[in-house]
Structure formats: C-alpha cells, structure tokens
C-alpha cells in the first residue's frame, strides 16, 4: 500500500515535469511557427537599407552643348549614440559653418520624424566637395559620423533657367502619392526637370547590410543577393539652341517680356526666354531656400515663366487671324478694299493711325489698318448664313481655336496656361442674352478685348503661317537617350483655314517688313539685307500701363527655318522694341553674324524697367 502510494508520487512528479515541458514546447511552437511577427521584428533589428542614389540624367542643347550636369556633394549623417564629444569650433570651421549652425543642426536632426539615437540620421546636407575633402582627412577624429555621397545640379552657363527648371527635396504630398519617393529624395520641381522627372531621375538602388545592436555594419545581407544597383537617369537632348538662348537673354536684359522661337517644320522650340531671368545656380546647394525666397519676393517675378504663363492681348498681330477667317468664310477677298480716314466710326468707333488709303487685304496687313479689320470682323460675325450673332461668333471662335488659342498647346513643360478666347455664354453673362452684337465686341477685330494669349501661342501662330496652315505642338525635348519622345510631337494640327489663303497673309507680312519706304510698312526696322523676314507688329493695350510691344515673324520667307514671337512689356510700339529684337534673333540663328551692330547695342543697352515704374 505504502509502496503503491510512493510510486504514484513518482508518476505525479513525472507528469508535472512533462506538463511543464509541454507548455514550453507549445509556446515555442506558437512564437516560432504560428506567429510570424517576430521575423519582421528580427529583420527590423538587423537589416539596414542604404539607398544608392543615382545621378540625374544630363541635359544638352540641340547641338550637344551641355546645359545641365551634376556635381558631387555630401550629406553628413550621424548616429547619435556613437557621437563622442568633439571640438565644435573646429568641426564648424572645416565645413564653413558657424558653431551656432552646427548646434542647431544637431537639435534639428534629433527632432526629425523617425529619429532614433541608434540610427543614422542626416545632420548636414549638401556639403560641397571642397569642404568635404577637408573634413574627410580628419574624420577619424569624429566618431559616429557617416557620409552619404549625392549629386546636385550644376550649370555651365547661367541660361534657360525657366526652361530647365530646378530640383529640390521631395515634399510630403509626393511621398504620400508616390511610393518611389522617400524623405530626402530630390525631385524636379519646375521646367524640364519636372516634366521629364521620370526620365531624368533614374532608379534608386538599395544595399542591404546587417548591423549589430550598436548599428555597426557587420556585412552585406545574404551576399548582396537582394541588393539593387542604382540606375542613372537618362540624358536628354533639348531642342534649344544654347547660343540663341543666351543671345536672346542678353537682348532682353533690363526688359520685361518674353521671346519664343520655334522651328516651324518640327515644332521644336529653339529658344524660350522669359525676362527677367535668374541664375539657375542660385537654386542649388545649401543657399537654395534663402535664394528662392529672395527671388519669390522680387516684384519683377523672375521665377515666373512668362513664355507659357503670361497672358497678353495679342494686339494687331491678331489681324492676320481675322484676315484668314474672313477669307475662309468668303466675306472678304484679297481684292476687297476699305477706306480708312483715321478710324472706324460706327458705334464707339476704333481709331487708326495715318497710312495710305484705301487698302486691299495685303496692304491692310502691311500698314496694319484697324478700320479694315473692323469691317472684316463684322462681316464674319454678321454673315447672313450664320443667321445670328451667336452663331457667327461661335464660327469665329472655332476658327480661332484651330490655331491653338484658348487651349493649351501641351508643350512638354509644366504650368502652361491656355489663354482666353471668350465664348458666347461669357458675353451672354456679361451683357445679357441678345444684348450684344458684332459692334459690341469690335475690339476682337484688332486683337484687343477679352482675348489673351501666351508668347508661346504667338510663336506657334507664326509657325502655323510659315507652314501655311498647320502646326506641330511645340516641344523642348528633341531626344531622350535610349528612349523615344512622345509621338504627339510629330502630329500635324491642321487649322480650319485652307492652305491657299495663307499666301496672301504671307505677302502682307512680307510687305510689313520689306515694303518700300513711304508705303506705310510698319516693321521696316526688322528688315535684313539677305534674309526675307515676314512679320507683323502689334501694340497691345493693357491695363498695366504703357502698351506692350509685340512682334511675330518667320524667316526666310521661301523656306521658313524659324518662327518667333517677342513681347516686351510696357515698352510701346511693336516696331520700336519687339521687331528689332526678333530681327536680331533671326539673323543670329540663321547667319550667326549681326549686320546691324548699332541696333544690337541700342537694344542691349536699353533699360525699359523704369518705364514700368513710371506707368504706375
């Protein structure tokens, strides 16, 4: 009996032992086989992903001249736990910083999101190669610092700032919308840098390292099986002629406005100048934020890309469009003549300057007669077949829009504006339904009133006329290394005007530049000895002060190679400033010599900024 009791106690002890071990095995099974969260935690512990930043693609002009290249800079990272006390003054002087700057950088680094004293965090960004070289020599003295090589943009000559755009650190919104981006990545913010971001940025790589509890690298993970190489960005060749661009920027110095030059046959933008401009190097490196703020506060808005974002009235240049619509609608013929005695006197009336009278269609363009176009415009709107002013106006609007006005041309740059071509409903609202007629909106006849266009649209109009009825969407990128450009930049956009009518317009524009002295030609100043330029001046009235000086042209007449538009804000007559600038640009592009150095000097020396001030 006693023996049995004792042996049963042995069984109880065995059962206790087995039960406890069963509980252990059960828990082991749970955490090792069922619960997978520990595997993630282990990876978090031990794996450190180091981003390999690719160099951005380079940007060249149409002849292969480099516009944008890269230069190395260095971010200094720190692992707070490993940082030992050091000589802050020496550290700061080496990096050309003040002690306070270094101290505040430390403070900021520890405040950033996801900060951990065990992890490497960015302490100082964009240390120049020269400063870094000095630091590297003595880096052994400073424990807990690491180096992250990066590249930033570098510009060989300070041109085409608006067109090229700039690069900056990616913001929260982008990080949220696109998983590719992480904090600290660079992204194109404007210009080509933005519109071709996906091409230029390349692809980030990652190296996976194993680290110990002190975050010291112990070796690559799984022999680098999961590492990826950074793929450098693709190089881009633009359509820009660096020489012409630079020349245009010099002509526009101390003036406000824009020049856009397009190769008519291809739609390639040869030059795109927005003035005033800025040195693109200002928006690179550690001073970027401060410089950007200064530029942003400048009252002349140097960051604003006037070529595609400024809305101007087209002025008299728009007469050629009305002429073409009139011909197409059959309400005017090349032989139609209207007399002009200082203006169109019906209704409120439209004044005109003195010129030989009467004029036929071609002469009306040559002398830029306002009266003539009041007649033409009213003939179109009030054409019997349309039945009503609304129908007539809608037909006119459709024609105008076929030239690319009132809509984006979809150039490969961000932030392009579409301009304004008013609609029937606009006037219905403005005047009330039935409360307006062709006479009410007569300003449209001479390119004033509710019309707004961008300099790019004006240049595109010149190209369309040079092509006798079609245009190819303007674009700034000619080719991408190992890639093709968007096929929309090869499609012809054909206007609603028959090709044959363009010949009369071209004759008129030829005469406007090359007419005999005393014949009333408005742009004789633009004429060149051995290049036949066809052009048309404009003097755009605007609410901001003195008229804008406008000119658009193409050349040579027989085989157009360049179409151009020039706007000089608040500068007065088109013939005074815009026309000579266009002429110099054309000659520079086609001949690369200047036959009228006095004119060049006169333009370059002119400072028209004060006119704006006076006008206010």
């Amino acid at each position: 009996m006693v023996l049995r009791a004792e042996s049963s106690r042995r069984v109880v002890v065995s059962v206790i032992i087995l039960l406890v071990f069963a509980a252990i095995v059960g828990k082991l099974f749970y955490i090792q086989v069922i619960d997978s969260s520990y595997k993630f935690s282990a990876a978090n512990n031990v794996l450190r992903y180091i981003t390999q930043y690719p160099a951005r693609g380079l940007i060249f002009d149409r002849h292969g001249v480099p516009l944008v290249s890269n230069k190395p800079i260095f971010d200094i990272l720190m692992v707070k736990r490993q940082v030992k006390p050091f000589d802050t003054l020496e550290f700061a002087t080496m990096l050309e910083l003040t002690v306070d700057q270094v101290r505040s950088a430390f403070k900021q680094a520890t405040k950033q999101k996801g900060y951990s004293p065990r992890k490497a965090v960015v302490l100082l960004k964009q240390i120049s190669a020269e400063n870094f070289a000095r630091f590297q020599e003595v880096m052994y003295k400073y424990q807990g610092f690491e180096i992250q090589p990066r590249t930033v943009r570098s510009y060989n000559s300070p041109i085409a700032a608006h067109l090229l755009g700039y690069v900056g650190e990616v913001d929260e919104r982008h990080i949220k919308n696109n998983p590719y981006y992480q904090q600290g990545d660079y992204i194109g913010i404007s210009g080509i840098e933005r519109s071709y971001e996906h091409v230029l940025r390349g692809k980030k790589g990652v190296k996976i390292f194993m680290v110990d509890v002190h975050n010291r690298i112990k070796g690559s993970y799984d022999q680098g099986k999961f590492d990826t190489m950074a793929v450098p960005g693709k190089n881009i060749t633009t359509t820009i002629d660096a020489n012409l661009q630079e020349y245009g920027e010099r002509l526009m110095q101390n003036k406000i406005g824009s020049i856009v030059a397009i190769e008519p046959k291809t739609g390639e933008v040869l030059a795109m100048i927005s003035s005033p401009t800025y040195d693109p190097n200002l928006l690179v490196g550690r001073q970027r934020a401060a410089n950007f703020r200064a530029l942003k506060q400048d009252s002349l808005k140097p960051i604003f890309n006037r070529s595609i974002m400024a809305l101007y009235p087209p002025g008299s240049t728009f007469k050629v469009v009305n002429a073409l619509i009139g011909l197409q609608e059959g309400v005017v013929t090349p032989e139609t003549r209207y007399a002009c005695h200082g203006g169109y006197t019906v209704g409120r009336g439209v004044a005109c300057h003195s010129h030989p009278s009467p004029t036929n269609l071609i002469q009306s363009i040559q002398v830029s007669c306002n009266t003539y176009y009041c007649h033409v415009f009213r003939n179109i709107i009030d054409k019997k077949e349309f039945g009503s002013v609304e129908n007539g106006f809608s037909a006119w609007k459709r024609h105008v829009e076929s030239f690319g006005f009132g809509n984006k041309l979809n150039i490969d740059l961000p932030h392009e504006l579409k301009g304004i071509v008013p609609s029937v409903s606009f006037y219905d609202k403005y005047y009330r339904k039935g409360g307006w007629s062709s006479l009410t909106i007569i300003s449209l006849a001479i390119g004033q009133g509710e019309l707004s266009v961008t300099p790019l649209q004006m240049a595109n109009l010149a190209a369309t006329i040079a092509n006798k009825g079609y245009y190819i969407a303007p674009h700034v990128v000619k080719s991408i290394e190992g890639d093709t450009i968007n096929s929309v930049f090869r499609e012809k956009h054909i206007t609603s005007i028959d090709s044959k009518y363009f010949d009369y317009i071209i004759e008129g524009m030829d005469l406007a530049v090359n007419g005999d002295p005393g014949s009333g030609s408005t742009a004789r100043i633009a004429a060149l000895p051995d290049i036949r330029i066809c052009g048309k001046t404009g003097t755009a009235q605007n609410p901001h002060g003195k008229d804008h000086s406008v000119f658009f042209a193409f050349a040579p007449k027989d085989d157009p190679k360049i179409a151009i538009s020039v706007y000089v804000e608040n500068a007065g007559f088109g013939a005074t400033w815009a026309a000579p600038i266009a002429s110099l640009m054309i000659e520079k592009y086609l001949k690369n010599t200047i036959s009228k150095p006095w004119l060049e000097k006169y333009i370059m020396d002119a400072n028209l900024l004060d006119r704006r001030a006076k006008a206010k």
């Binding site: 004792e6 002890v13 032992i17 071990f21 252990i24 082991l28 090792q32 595997k39 512990n45 031990v46």
Partner: protein, 473 residues
C-alpha cells in the same frame, strides 16, 4: 581492475551519454552565440567558447573522479560539506565581488566562482542526510522545522547576496519533500497560492476575494455534498455584502470595494469555524481555515510585491503579466529574446547564421539567454529536440533515483532532478516569455565554469550511487 570494470559496467550509460550530448550542444551554441569573423577558431581560448572547452575538460575529469570515488564519503561528509558551503556563502557576502548587482562571486585570479551553485549540491546532500537519518519521518512539527532550517539557511544568505534567482531554485526541493511524504494538499495549496498571487497582481482585490470564496464553496460542496448549506452561506454572504454597500452609500461611509467584499466572506469563514468546532465537522473546519489563510495571503500579496520585491522583479513580473509594456526598457531582454527565438521559424536560420544573437541584440546571449541561439539557429525542430533531450535526461534521472535501494541516494536523486528541472524550466520559460526574467543558467548550456561544474558534480554523485546500488564497491 575488478572495481573499475564494475563501475563501467554498472554506470548508467543512457544518462551519461545524454549528459555528454547536452554539454557538447551547449558548447556549440556558445560558439554560435559569440561567433565573429575575427575569431573563427573554435579553439580560441581568448573567447568564451575556448574557455568553455576548458571548463568542459575539467568537468569531465571531475565526473571521472567522482565515479571512482568512494560513495560512502557523501553521506558521511554531507553535513561537513554543508557547513563549509554556509561559511563560504557568508564570507562571499562579506568579501565577494559584485556582478550584475549580486554579491555572489569569489574572485580567484582572473576567474570567479559562484558558491551559490555549489550550495545546491551541499543542500541536496544535507537534506538527504537529514531525511534518511534513522527514525526521521516527514510528519509532525519538528520534522518540518528541521527540513526548513536545512533549506532555509542557504536560501537566506543567498537572498542577502541579492541573488533571488538562485534562492528560488531551492524552492524546487518541495518536490523532494512531496516524494518523501509531504501531503499532496500542501503541494496543491502552494500551487493555488501562486495562482492567487498572480491574480492579485492582475485583478482588483474584490475579484480575488470573490474567486477565493467561490473556490471554498466548491470545496465545501465536493467534501460534504451539502448543496443547500452551500447555497445558504452564499446567499448570506451576498446579503451582508449588499447591506454593507447600502449602508456605505447611505451614510457616506466610503467603504472600499475590497472591504465590502472582504467582510461578508470573513464573517462566513469565522461562523463556519465556530460551527465546525462545535459540531466537530473536520472538512468545514479545514475549509474555513483555508479561506482565512488564503484571504490573509492575498491581502499581503500586494504588500509583499511592493515592499519585499525589488523594483526590477516587480517590473519583470508586470511585464510578463502584460500589466506594463515597455519593450525598450524593462521588457527589452524578453522582447529581444522572443524576437530571436521567434525569427528562427520551423527549421531555424542555420548554424552560425543567427543574426539577433550574434549581433548582440539579445543580452547575455551566452549565459542566461543561451537558448535564444538554439531557437534562432536551429528553429522549432532544434528547440524541440533540445527540450526533449533535457526532459528525457530528467526522466532518466528520476528513474535512477527511484531505483536506489538506499534512502539517502533516492532522496538525493530527487534533489538532483528537482534542481535541474527548475533551472531548465525557468530558464527556457523566461526566454520565451512564460516566466518572469530570473537570472539562472540553463544546465549544461549556459557559459560558465561554476554552473557547469556544479551540475556535473550534482549529476555524477547520483550516478556514482547508482553504480553501487547493488552493494558497495
């Protein structure tokens, strides 16, 4: 010659081989735990795995020496060993070296010895000596006092050394007492008290009191089958409780919830006690006492927890029970340990391919947390094999203890099994978050000479007795 042959023939080879396998596995895992590219050589004696090999070598020599020793010396000198150890413990307390806040090391040159490890052997021997002495029976007050003194003396000194973990190990000797006649209800009651202790920490006093009362009522029903009485007592207690609650609300007495629960239960227990005394009903008497004792324990549990235990013990227990969660602070060790073991998966990452242990995310990865290396590199399958080997070893030792004809040897054998069992269960349990973190080594696996030698001596004295179980050599 004759003697040697008999020793080799009668040695329990199953236990011996299991011992050797466990020791070698431990060594391989120490190598893996501290492995680094700079020190690849497993025989590098500047590294822990190199040193452990030396400890293993000496352990084997000790094992052989013990096997060839005269087994009579152990009962004969049991009290003397015990006395020497007590003196050593006291002198350690006075002159020892402090490691990890415990003053439990005797420096010997560049090494250190932990006398507490050897105190386990001496105590097991002394307990065996006491309980196997002529006429000793584990019944009656004085027998418990004697046993209490033998176990309590080293425990007291070790607690003073601030080495609570080692002190806890002596608690396992309750299994020895159980085998030698300690009533089963005491073992059950002790287990119940542990449960009550945990409940007190997790739930409010009122819930714990209600729980204890419910258990008492159930016990009452099981013993007496008096359903009606059980119902009356419950209703009565409930009534008093409600009355107290109403009075408290009505007169704004602001009695705490605990008191409103405690008073009716206490009244029921005291009435039960008086009733049982008058009518000579033993079960009711016992249950009423149980109720009062447990209530007293639960009332003092909070006090013990907050006043007697160190902050770090409190934190570890709270962490385990999920009361406090602080994976980067108090919970760091266990959290990292679980990550290491959990990330091993079913098959493990492969030998020497563990990252969590090798790169020091797990603290103490070659000593107290050595099991993390097993779990991480050998996965669930490897862990299962190790745990099974240890269990097998314990059951084998249990079998050996049970087959001893001599009382001394059997009691000692149970001591060996109890001590090893507690070490293994608590150590592995803490690495996977089953038991609060208690710094005691995993037998044969954890790095360290003292513990390896102590466990080797512990086991081989038993095996030596086993060799001569059919008669003295």
């Amino acid at each position: 010659m004759q003697k040697r042959n008999n020793i080799l023939r009668n040695l329990d080879w199953a236990a011996t081989i299991l011992y050797v396998v466990l020791v070698l596995m431990g060594w391989l895992n120490i190598y893996a735990a501290v492995y680094s590219d700079e020190h690849r050589n497993i025989l590098d004696f500047s590294q822990r795995y190199g040193k452990q090999l030396v400890w293993i070598f000496f352990a084997f020599i000790m094992a052989i020496v013990i096997l060839f020793s005269n087994d009579r010396i152990y009962p004969a000198f049991a009290y003397i060993f015990y006395g020497i150890i007590l003196i050593t413990l006291i002198s350690t307390l006075l002159f020892g070296r402090v490691v990890n806040a415990s003053k439990s090391w005797i420096p010997i040159g560049s090494f250190g010895l932990q006398p507490a490890e050897f105190a386990k052997i001496a105590t097991a021997l002394a307990l065996a000596k006491l309980m196997s002495s002529y006429g000793f029976k584990l019944s009656g007050f004085w027998s418990y006092v004697k046993v209490g003194i033998v176990i309590g003396l080293p425990v007291g000194i070790i607690i003073l050394q601030n080495d609570t973990g080692s002190a806890l190990v002596f608690g396992s000797l309750v299994l020895v007492l159980y085998r030698e006649g300690l009533p089963a209800w005491i073992l059950s009651y002790l287990a119940f008290l542990v449960l009550v202790f945990i409940l007190t920490l997790v739930y409010s006093t009122s819930v714990v009191i209600a729980f204890i009362f419910a258990v008492a009522v159930i016990l009452f029903i099981l013993y007496t089958r008096q359903y009606r009485d059980a119902f009356r007592v419950s209703i009565g207690a409930l009534g008093i409780g409600l009355l107290l609650y109403i009075l408290s609300e009505f007169f704004q007495l602001k009695l705490s919830n605990g008191l409103i629960f405690l008073i009716p239960v206490l009244v029921a227990a005291i009435l039960g006690l008086l009733y049982a005394y008058k009518n000579r009903l033993k079960p009711v008497y016992v249950i009423s006492l149980f109720l009062i004792a447990t209530l007293g324990f639960s009332m003092s549990a909070d006090y013990v927890f907050e006043r007697v235990l160190d902050v770090h013990h409190q934190k570890r227990i709270n962490d385990l029970l999920g009361i406090e969660n602080d994976p980067l602070g108090w919970g760091y060790n266990v959290n990292q340990s679980k990550i290491a073991i959990g990330s091993g998966g079913l098959w493990g990452k492969g030998y020497l391919l563990g990252t969590q242990t090798k790169y020091n995310f797990v603290p103490e990865q070659s000593t107290d947390f050595i099991f993390c290396t097993v779990g991480e590199e050998w996965g669930f399958m490897g862990s299962l094999i190790v745990v099974m080997l240890i269990a097998l070893f314990l059951l084998r030792l249990l079998k050996i203890a049970e087959r001893q004809t001599e009382h001394f040897a059997r009691i000692y054998g149970y001591g060996v099994v109890s001590i090893l069992f507690l070490h293994a269960a608590v150590n592995v349990g803490m690495t996977i978050g089953l038991v609060p973190v208690i710094g005691i080594p995993l037998p044969f696996f954890s790095y360290g000479g003292s513990s390896l030698w102590a466990f080797t001596i512990l086991v081989f004295i038993l095996l030596r007795f086993d060799v001569s179980r059919y008669g003295a050599y």
